[in-house]
């Protein structure tokens, strides 16, 4: 089960995230949990593979907003990086960044599931 402590260890700024939830811990943890099922991650991966960088930017941008609100700092920082690359339609190798994001997602998922 996900806890504030686990998220703190993960590097999330739970103080900030909780404040946005008016101190409602249950809601905050529920929202973070739902993050693991966010379709935007997979969507972005597919869009990059299809070289549809404009759509990929929109997906990344959406994720960025959610992660910022929940203050999931590690994941947020990586998504910020990829968002900026996609914003300028950078034709670069996105693979390393995508993998980093995936790893962080998996870790978060483990926190939720264990």
């Amino acid at each position: 089960m996900l806890t504030i402590e686990k998220l703190n260890e993960y590097g999330a700024n739970t103080k900030e995230g909780l404040a946005r939830c008016m101190g409602n811990e249950t809601l905050y943890l529920r929202l973070v949990t739902s993050l693991t099922a966010q379709p935007d991650f997979d969507r972005m991966r597919e869009q990059i593979a299809d070289h549809d960088l404009a759509s990929a930017f929109e997906s990344a941008h959406a994720m960025k907003g959610v992660l910022a609100n929940l203050s999931i700092t590690p994941l947020y920082e990586k998504v910020c990086e990829i968002t900026e690359l996609l914003r300028s339609r950078e034709e670069t190798d996105y693979q390393p960044l995508l993998e980093e994001i995936d790893t962080l997602r998996k870790t978060l998922k483990e926190l939720v599931e264990n």
Binding site: R20, A62, V66, N69
Partner: protein, 561 residues
Amino acid sequence: MDRFISADEYKRRVMIIDDEEINRLMLGNILETEYEVVFAKDGQEAWDLLHGEEKDISLLLLDLLMPVMNGFELISKLNEDDELKSIPVIVMTSEKEAEVKSIKLGASDFITKPYDMPEVILARCERIIKLSEETTLIHSTEKDAVTGLFTRDYFFEYIRQIEAHHNSSVDALVFNIDHFHLVNEMYGRKTGDSVLVRVANTLEEVLKEKEIISCRTEADTFYVLCEHIDDYTPFIAKIQELLGNASGSSKIRLRAGIYQEAAKDMEVELRFDRAKIACDRIRGDYSRTVAYYNNELYQKSIYHERLIRDVDDAIANEDFKVFFQPKYDITSDTPKLRSAEALIRWQHPELGMISPGDFIPLFESNGLIQKVDNYVWKTAASQIRKWKEKYNYSVAVSVNVSRIDIFDPTLQDKLRTILEENGLDASELMLEITESAYADSANTLTEVAESLRASGFKIEMDDFGSGYSSLNMITTLPIDVLKLDMKFVRNMEKDEKSLKLVELIIDIAKFLDVPVVAEGVETKSQLDTLKDLGCQVIQGYYFSKPVPADEFEQFIEKELK
């Protein structure tokens, strides 16, 4: 029943539009502390909700990047919608450029992502809603300078805002001061103002438990929105008691019109219009101080509207039928056809035959009677010509000239044109003017009548005896015929007083050296009495009811034999 609460107290509804559920829930959690929150997942869903069940939204919180319909598209669409464009929009974005663009498009403010602290968001929302509501209200001056009540515009706007959030059952009340213009004229403006203040204070004092908001409008009319009350009798009695106890200039009488428990989907102005219809209905009726708007009254006002709307079509389609009632000279042993009176009927294509009593007073009150009179004049003149052509016989026809026609500077020209078009002499189209019109505006009427007589028209004074002519005025009247009010004829065999009046009127006619026409004669005995008294001309069912032109021809043919 819910107690009505003030605009500051009720919970407003706000809508969050964002395609990310996490964002929606997080922001919703913040806003729910102060507002009722509605959610939409994109611009299209928001648009549909705003046009459907969500009609009372005070604020939109709008994400910009969304599928289906994005935030910019929604703002543009809202700007083109008269009903929705006044809802303020706060844009939620993390992009500086988007902030500028959305503000330029008409957004009121923006919230950055990630969200600010909840207190900041709530403060921003509160400020924007307040600003928006005040901007709507600011168009009108809030308070009436004389009474301190709200002004009409503010009053209606306030009710709209309150009712968007509340469903209590309410009544619309309209109060009007009887003869207020006389207070101003007799005692001066300052006294008039003090009367208005006293009325305002009295209404407030008596209705305070139930009143939601009140205003003054049109000088001496007060509007009050009240929580529903089944029976206003004790309230109205108390108001009259407080206002009637004073003396002199302060003694006033209020009339009340009440429209109870109107459906909330009816526009608020319309509800007060209806209360006012009820209030106007008892104007001049001293036996009543309160009237309720009911279905019958509604039907009547709808019916009147219908008649007003249809009058032009009726003229164009000749739905107005002009009937003719003969007038007989009874001075010799055998009555002789002397002339006729043109009387109008309305054969409405959908409503059937409409009695003149239903539409003539209505059209007299709004001036449409001029159109109807004009139609009758033309039709009657054309009929006189047709009879002249057919029988080589002239039947003079009298037509009504309403009070408003007298003030028409083109009256004489209109009549002249009609005569010329039909090749008639002025003496063939006789003009009937009621006595009450003389009494109301003696000088103008005398001038106009004199001028018409100088052109050869014959003037008949209609309904003589029912008005209030002074003896002095009667002696100077420029008239050619006196028509005795039919109620004297009807009553003269029943009561001595009516008979005496008939005698008196016939004497007046002798003094003026003009003939008397008695209307409404139905029996031989009435005819004999009138003849004995010296009445020269008889009109009534005794000879014939008003008939269509073709039926009237039998009287001409009989005369010619």
